[in-house]
């Protein structure tokens, strides 16, 4: 197909109507940091492109006290510069801060990071660890799906990925994130981990949600790590045990992949860093 129709979308309703009309002939473009390259290399060839960067509603970060909702068009720069993400949500800040370069962060969006579906998408593991829900809208109505399940039932041809929301962490919860890239800037993640930890007054982990990036076909929840950590204190032996649990899961998932031996070794310090910073930062952020 040749691209011969473009729209500067003015509202969500208008975009949903266009998607209903054109279906799989159309593609949404926001920050463009992935799709413009795919268009140029003819990896995709839509007939219709719909720009959504001028729709204010998609660029909002909303905090209603219980939930934080990020419009799909919120850029990484917006997240990095917003104080909400500097306390116990620091893991999301850290992930967004490490995306690409200033130019990429100015344009790249949360919605795009999800919809593009890369296994190495930096913002996704922290959002999975937060238990985020993705909101998709079409002429049939709104469909909501947990982010951890999203990759197995992705945005459909007539749907617009509208927003993502998560419950604000409690004062005694903290989100952390670590990334292994090959250099500081402009580095695609080799692997990432994100962990949301909740401690009781005796420093025992009473709630945990863990996620990884680039350790499988998609970013994913790491249940084995969670099961291991629950009810323990963060000590050297605990970290070693959590690493073991993750390595066993990886061995199964990445069996036969040439990157497995490398990732198996590299995950040791990345998960250690995430858990240790989780342990240290709990004193800085709130109730202790």
């Amino acid at each position: 197909m040749t691209l011969n129709q473009v729209y500067n979308g003015n509202s969500i309703d208008e975009v949903v109507e266009l998607l209903g009309k054109y279906g799989k002939e159309a593609k949404i473009v926001a920050g463009g940091t992935d799709i413009v390259i795919a268009l140029k290399n003819e990896k995709i060839s839509p007939r219709v492109l719909i720009d959504i960067t001028k729709i204010d509603e998609l660029k909002k970060i909303e905090d209603d006290g219980e939930y934080i909702t990020l419009g799909a068009g919120v850029t990484f720069t917006q997240i990095v510069e917003n104080d909400i993400f500097h306390g116990n949500l620091r893991g999301l800040y850290k992930a967004c801060r490490m995306v690409g370069s200033p130019q990429i962060r100015n344009k790249g969006t949360i919605g795009g990071n999800i919809a593009n579906g890369s296994a190495a998408a930096d913002s996704i593991p922290p959002l999975i660890a937060l238990g985020s829900i993705v909101s998709l809208v079409s002429s049939d109505g709104v469909r909501e799906i947990p982010l951890e399940d999203y990759y197995y039932d992705q945005v459909r041809d007539n749907e617009l990925l509208r927003s993502i929301r998560f419950k604000k962490p409690k004062d005694n919860q903290v989100l952390n994130f670590s990334k292994l890239g090959l250099r500081k800037a402009l580095a695609i993640s080799r692997l990432t981990t994100a962990v949301l930890l909740e401690f009781d007054e005796n420093n025992i982990i009473q709630f945990v949600r863990a996620a990884s990036g680039a350790l499988g076909k998609y970013p994913m929840r790491e249940i084995e790590v969670e099961e291991y950590l629950l009810g323990k204190k963060i000590k050297n032996e605990t970290i070693d045990g959590a690493v073991d649990a993750l390595q066993i899961a990886m061995d199964e998932r990445l069996k036969g992949r040439s990157t497995l031996p490398y990732k198996r070794t590299a995950i040791v310090s990345i998960l250690r860093e995430t858990l240790e910073s989780g342990n240290e930062s709990k004193n800085e952020v709130g109730a202790w």
């Binding site: 011969n4 720009d51 370069s101 200033p102 344009k107 800037a185």
Partner: protein, 158 residues
């Protein structure tokens, strides 16, 4: 073809463009701003950096039609009344320019940095230009140039 209007270096352009045209092609091939360079064409090198509505972007990753209604500054828009911008002058004086290919993007990233933070430290300067690759200088001269530019701009104010 699609009709768009945008401001480049404070001048309004109304133009009809191909649907699949990128912003960098519009700037270079249609509007003649050849200072904007295409290096990698995939957002890694920053040579095509321009300032769009106050923020740096890689113009190779923006579709021309997306720039409808936006305000863009390219390297050609930096000088005023025939005089180089203090950042450009500082780059020359510090010896931060070798082959020159990365410089338009580098200067615009420096400008965007100083517009947000008028007194960055060296780490912040490094971060500010981290999306612009240079294969000649090793970057230290750009850090020197940015510190020099801060001084020039202060002197200009006085």
């Amino acid at each position: 073809m699609v009709n768009i209007g945008l401001t480049v270096n404070q001048k309004l352009f109304e133009i009809s463009v191909d649907e699949n045209l990128r912003l960098i092609d519009l700037l270079r091939d249609k509007l003649g701003f050849h200072g904007t360079k295409e290096g990698c064409g995939e957002g890694e090198c920053g040579a095509c950096t321009v300032i769009m509505d106050g923020e740096t972007v890689n113009s190779c990753l923006v579709m021309a039609f997306q720039a409808n209604g936006s305000n863009i500054t390219t390297i050609e828009g930096m000088e005023k009344d025939g005089k180089l911008h203090p950042i450009q002058q500082a780059y020359i004086d510090a010896g931060a320019v070798q082959c020159g290919f990365c410089i338009p993007g580098m200067v615009l990233s420096t400008k965007a940095l100083l517009d947000k933070n008028s007194h960055p430290n060296r780490d912040e300067i490094r971060e500010g230009i981290s999306g612009n690759l240079c294969r000649c200088t090793g970057y230290n001269k750009m850090l020197d140039a940015t510190e020099m530019a801060i001084k020039y701009m202060e002197e200009e104010k006085e």
